[in-house]
Amino acid sequence: LITEPTRELAAPDLVEPVIGFREWRLRGDRLLSQHTDVAWEGETMAAECLPGRFSVHRGPGLHADPSPAPDCACGLYACFEPYRRWASSVDWTLIAGAAALWGRIQVHRSGMRAQYARPVVLALPPRLPPKRLQAAKGVSERLGLPLVRFEHLAAAAEEHGRKLPRSLLLA
């Protein structure tokens, strides 16, 4: 039986980043997390737990484990696949994209919470008003992120890592 503390000393499950798909809020030429308004500036993001009004942390307080902890809601979120029906297809204040994830990752049934993440690709929805298109191009150029059509998102993302293998998904 391998317990959690022992697992930290074990060989990693993967040695290349995992690709996850998510949405950001687009404000001016900045990418913001939807819940916390934290800016993603194209550099490495490191998850941190801070129990508060958005937390569904079930423990007595801050946990000693690094974020994301198994029993908490902290971490950098991403889904396994991009979805056409995401809010960004109709809400033009949001933009879809992909991030490379690594470090400790909590794998759930429909997505992941990661310790480290870096945005790698942004995607355009099918219809976008010129003003929003300009904003998408602005953040893409400023952060050096490719901007692709939504249908090309998965392929573009896989240049920066791999999707989580089936063997590591929850049964």
Partner: protein
């Protein structure tokens, strides 16, 4: 729309570790050779107004 938390939580999870041999770098970042490395940005699930508690 809180798709992230609603879609991913609650539920069981498993912990995996991913240690890239090479850390991911954007392919065509025009500033990566000109700007010094920055401290990682922090994303917090919680009230941004709350002060972090020292570990």
């Amino acid at each position: 729309m809180c798709w992230e938390i609603e879609a991913i939580l609650p539920g069981p999870s498993r912990t995996i570790t991913v240690e890239p041999i090479e850390r991911p770098v954007p392919a065509e970042s025009p500033d990566r050779d000109r700007e010094p490395a920055r401290e990682p940005e922090r994303e917090r699930i919680g009230d941004p107004s709350e002060e972090p508690v020292p570990a």
